[in-house]
């Protein structure tokens, strides 16, 4: 099936993120979010009142408080009333919603932000609450345990081994030394097994952080950014929740989303993959047919900074920023949600070839 080509051109024109840290006890959510919103607005010269649509992503389970996003909304300046929406998942899906809104012609600019403060609770336990409440949640299988089952399945089929996983960790954290915002830049020991076969080094850091992007259409985007990162396609797909009915060594939802986003129509030079665990990069590379010519996670990826609910949006932002800088002409960005890559979003971003 030929991917649908949208009538309106939409681009990411600015990206900002916080320094990702293990804890931010001295900051409330809004205090954490606000500087990043100011940063992304400053890059475009826009004020809140100039933005046609705002969409955010977060999770109340991380904060331990209902409707926690309403407080963070204060940082946007929501009075007089603004056009706003919220998704209770990674901000990548908020970006998808904003993209759709822009495609409808209802808005020409959008602010998308998301944040996660994992430090107040235990994120491994918190994430068990997203599981099926009848068959899974009562067993409290944590996020590392589920990723480890997937990793072992990959080892069993010969798709990877522990040294190969360690190499992914090493490469990611070495790349993160060029990323001023990363939580874990540089070499670090693989460490003991957390849940075998995954060691400390195979797992993402736990931390707090924020990301924000601005989207704009057509000539508005060209006014706001010297080299806009045009969204050529974007799609997201979901698989069955139950792990026992899925082939954990594959990610057909990623492949399908990529197909529908047009990822396979021309080679990409960069891929920002949302793979919190080293083993998940193996799955995603297989699903997306990425070879050695593609620069994967030059930012260091989620292994270097994984603010839950913002880490997916950061992949889109990092891919866009590489296009803004002229480091990439055609990039793939991926975000995931749910256990063992259950839900996957893929976007294809391009810079205009004549503007470098």
């Amino acid at each position: 099936m030929t991917p649908h080509r949208p009538d309106r051109e939409v681009a990411i024109v600015a990206f900002a993120q916080s320094d990702h840290r293990r804890r931010t006890d001295d900051l409330s959510e809004v205090e954490m979010v606000m500087p990043v919103l100011h940063d992304v607005l400053r890059q475009t010269g826009l004020r809140t009142s100039d933005i046609d649509f705002t969409c955010s992503g977060s999770s109340d389970y991380l904060a331990g408080r209902a409707f926690s996003f309403t407080m963070a909304l204060d940082g946007v300046g929501a009075w007089p009333p603004i056009s706003e929406s919220h998704v209770e998942t990674d901000g990548a899906w908020a970006l998808y919603e904003a993209w759709v809104k822009l495609l409808t012609g209802e808005a020409d600019t959008a602010l998308v932000y998301s944040y996660g403060k994992s430090s107040p609770g235990s994120v491994r336990d918190v994430l068990t609450r997203q599981l099926d409440p009848y068959y899974l949640a009562p067993l409290w299988p944590d996020s590392v345990a589920l990723a480890a089952l997937q990793a072992q399945a990959l080892v069993d089929v010969g798709a990877t081994d522990e040294p190969a996983l360690a190499a992914i960790a090493t490469r990611s954290r070495a790349d993160a030394t060029a990323n001023a915002h990363a939580q874990l830049p540089g070499a670090r020991p693989q460490g003991e097994y957390v849940v075998r076969p995954l060691r400390t080094g195979d797992c993402p850091p736990i931390g707090d952080g924020v990301a924000a992007v601005i989207l704009a259409v057509g000539d508005r985007a060209r006014e706001l950014c010297a080299r806009p990162a045009w969204i050529r396609g974007m799609d997201h797909r979901i698989e069955a929740h139950s792990l026992g009915v899925r082939d954990l060594t594959d990610s057909p939802s990623t492949r399908l989303a990529a197909e529908r986003a047009g990822a396979f129509e021309a080679p990409v030079d960069t891929a920002e993959l949302h793979a919190p665990f080293t083993s998940q990069e193996v799955v995603l590379r297989r699903a997306l047919d990425l070879d050695e010519s593609v620069r994967v996670n030059p930012s260091g990826g989620a292994l270097a900074a994984n603010p839950v609910m913002a880490a997916g949006l950061i992949r889109l932002g990092e891919a866009a920023a590489r296009i803004h800088r002229g480091d990439s002409d055609r990039a793939l960005a991926h975000a995931t949600s749910g256990p063992c890559l259950q839900q996957n979003l893929v976007a294809v971003l391009e810079g205009e070839p004549h503007v470098r």
């Binding site: 205090e31 007089p80 235990s122 949640a137 072992q152 069993d156 849940v195």
Partner: protein, 317 residues
């Protein structure tokens, strides 16, 4: 800008016992576990799904054709958990396993009791260890244990009927947090400890927020200038509460009000005491009465001043 005060932190426990109803398939499956019977559901293509679902994950077709599968099975993948966490099936190191029960085509997630990772492998034969007390829940399977047997691959027909079927579960969960209120609220709480109420002024629109949240929602900028407000204030609006809240030691009816402290740019909430509930009115002048430990105003009482003029507080309603 004031110097940051010491970060406050306090335990925050969130507990939620969701009561969930079961459809016909889940009810049969969980009741079956109580009776040491494992049921699966057969799809249109003849595949047997265990644990069973009501709709085919591939076609969305409604599934109702229940079958009984074995209590023995084969590990399809595994992960060794050296440090069990609260709520997990075993307190000693164990393997997480996906097990394809004999007669089933899909795998069930659970725990495997084994002496160590060297005793576990994909393809290992296992059997269910039933919980001594069973109530109709996935935890009726205490765990799996290694068990060398030949697979029996033919599922048996089962009508899914049991006496006294389980129709619902209580999904209990507890999450422990350490709550930190951030800079603005920390400053507010520290001041309350000194029986002062501080708000924060927006540098852009000059509105004073009490309690401060760190940002002006109108301007979207940080509020950093501290302003002492009150202690007196004006009732801007109120309601009369007639139903006693659980664990609340206040006689009903009582009055809950919006109170605009002098100097504040918006009203905060508080209980009104020291006056019969039916004599509270808009414009009533009030002052805080501090709790015994002096860490927050317990309620507000009339000051005895004349009522405030409507024009002085109409913007704060």
């Amino acid at each position: 800008m004031t110097a940051p005060s010491e970060t406050l932190r306090a335990p925050l426990v969130v507990e939620f016992p969701f009561t969930r109803s079961l459809g016909p398939v889940q009810s049969a499956f969980l009741t079956g576990l109580r009776e040491r019977t494992v049921l699966g559901v057969r799809t249109e293509t003849g595949e047997v799904l265990v644990p069973p679902v009501e709709y085919d994950p591939a076609t969305a077709a409604e599934l109702r054709d229940l079958v009984e599968v074995g209590a023995t099975g084969t590990v399809t993948t595994w992960a060794w958990n050296p440090a069990p966490r609260t709520g997990q099936p075993l307190a000693t190191p164990f393997a997480w396993v996906l097990v394809r029960l004999d007669g089933a085509d899909t795998a069930l997630l659970h725990a495997l009791d084994a002496p160590g990772p060297e005793a576990v492998r994909t393809g290992l034969r296992v059997r269910i260890r039933w919980a001594a007390e069973r109530s109709g829940a996935i935890t009726d399977i205490a765990c799996f244990e290694p068990y060398d047997s030949d697979p029996v691959n033919e599922p048996a027909a089962h009508d899914g009927r049991f006496t006294d079927p389980v129709t619902g579960i209580v999904a209990a969960a507890r999450l422990d947090y350490t709550y930190s209120p951030g800079r603005a609220q920390t400053r507010y709480l520290h001041a309350l400890g000194e029986r002062r109420t501080v708000g924060e002024r927006c540098p852009s629109c000059a509105k004073v927020y009490v309690p401060p949240r760190g940002a002006c929602p109108t301007c979207g900028v940080a509020t950093t200038d501290q302003v002492e407000v009150g202690p007196r204030g004006t009732v801007t609006t109120y309601c009369i509460v007639n139903i006693k809240a659980k664990n609340l030691d206040i006689e009903v009816p009582y009055v809950y009000a919006h109170i605009a402290l002098d100097g504040a740019g918006l009203a905060l909430h508080g209980r009104i005491g020291g006056i019969p509930y039916d004599q509270v009115r808009m414009g009533l002048r009030v002052e805080p009465v501090w709790s015994d430990d002096g860490r927050y105003p317990d309620h507000y009482r009339p000051t005895g001043e004349p009522d405030a003029d409507y024009d002085t507080y109409k913007e704060l309603l």
